[in-house]
């Protein structure tokens, strides 16, 4: 039995310890906001937070998360009001939307560790999250907006 604290709630899951964390999140816990993209840590669609770091859940064995704290896109904020979510809505960042939960989870780590990122910081942080619709300029703009909201509102 593996114990996972996901979005503040503890789950006991009876799965193969080698099962990808993404499978557990989506198929066992039913949290389908996190997406499957490439399966080999190349696209970032499956990004979730493991103890605050933006791990790619498609290559992370669930055993690595045993007893650890996980956050998925469903738990990024209580009311979908994280500054990034507000900026994403304001700027209308997504096109098809498939990669966006991963984009948001990576951007959240960036803003946590660097509240005032430059364009270069954003490029470094977001280079592992692909978007086939090419929404990169809007992602960058939204991250700057969210950073400003954070500073003004003292998030």
């Amino acid at each position: 039995m593996i114990s996972l604290n996901v979005n503040g709630k503890t789950h006991q899951v009876d799965v193969d310890p080698n099962m990808p964390l993404l499978w557990v999140i989506r198929d066992v816990l039913g949290l389908t906001g996190t997406k499957y993209g490439c399966g080999v840590a190349q696209c970032g669609a499956c990004t979730v937070h493991l103890n605050g770091d933006a791990v790619r859940s498609c290559v992370t064995r669930v055993s690595r998360a045993d007893g650890q704290k996980l956050t998925t896109i469903e738990g990024l904020s209580l009311s979908n009001d994280h500054p990034l979510q507000q900026a994403w809505a304001e700027i209308d960042v997504p096109q098809c939307g498939y990669c966006q939960s991963g984009q948001l989870m990576s951007a959240a780590v960036l803003l946590k560790e660097n509240p005032n990122p430059s364009d270069k910081d954003i490029d470094i942080a977001m280079s592992g999250n692909l978007c086939r619709c090419g929404t990169y300029p809007r992602i960058r703009k939204a991250i700057h907006m969210a950073a400003e909201m954070q500073r003004k509102k003292g998030f």
């Binding site: 080999v40 840590a41 190349q42 970032g44 990004t47 770091d53 933006a54 791990v55 790619r56 290559v59 992370t60 064995r61 690595r64 989870m105 990576s106 951007a107 780590v109 960036l110 560790e113 660097n114 910081d121 470094i124 942080a125 977001m126 280079s127 592992g128 999250n129």
Partner: protein, 229 residues
């Protein structure tokens, strides 16, 4: 006025000095010829590759041997310059990837501690063990690059440069000779021989590498000639 007796005295002194100078030159020449003879019969001090040795060489407990040391390092060098070692010792701040040592896809950055930045930290993708399948991230619990304040660059270094760098405590993580020897068994070093599917191994076994590594260090840690390849 200059007296003739003074002149004679002065000439005598000059002659004496010349004789002494001639004797000195003869003695020096004899010494050189003797050294040449020793060098001809003892190639260990006249090896063309011998150039330098590690700073704490006097603490060595056994006899040094520049030929054995340099020959061992040339084997070590082949391993260190193989993709499995060099890819995480890049000249820039982006790790290398693949058997052709191209820049790592997505251009992850070194970061101050060598463990990446923001949402692009090494262990976000590199797991404690290898991921299964080809083109998946290889893994190790301690996956990282050298830190920004001591980059330990292998890429682009000649054998001469790398040998000198490896024994320079200001560039090698402050390791002394014994710690360097032990580093040959470091888990991340050994991980080069378990690189995951689809990646070539270093050009010799870890046992052979370790033997060459120890021989290089124990025989004096001599650096090959700057022209050695």
């Amino acid at each position: 006025m200059f007296k003739s007796s003074d002149m004679f005295k002065s000439r005598s002194e000059n002659k004496a000095k010349q004789i002494i100078n001639h004797r000195t030159i003869v003695v020096v020449l004899i010494l050189f010829s003797l050294m040449g003879g020793i060098a001809a019969t003892g190639p260990r001090v006249n090896h063309p590759m011998m150039n330098d040795r590690m700073v704490d060489a006097p603490s060595l407990d056994g006899p040094t041997d520049s030929i054995e040391s340099v020959a061992a390092f040339m084997k070590v060098y082949k391993v260190l310059m193989s993709p499995r070692c060099m890819n995480c010792h890049p000249a820039g701040d982006v790790p290398l990837q693949g058997d052709d040592s191209h820049l790592h896809q997505m251009l992850p950055q070194r970061g101050s501690d060598g463990k990446g930045l923001y949402a692009m930290k090494c262990t976000n993708c590199h797991q404690p063990t290898n991921s299964s399948g080809v083109h998946t991230p290889p893994g190790h619990p301690n996956w990282h690059l050298p830190p920004a304040n001591m980059k330990m660059v292998f890429q682009g270094k000649t054998a001469h440069q790398l040998a000198k760098q490896l024994v320079d405590r200001k560039q090698n993580g402050n390791k002394n000779r014994q710690q360097l020897i032990e580093h040959g068994d470091d888990a991340l070093v050994v991980a080069a021989w378990n690189p995951g599917e689809g990646r070539t191994l270093p050009p010799m076994s870890h046992e052979e590498f370790k033997a060459a590594w120890e021989t290089w260090l124990k025989k004096g840690a001599y650096a090959p000639s700057p022209k050695a390849k």
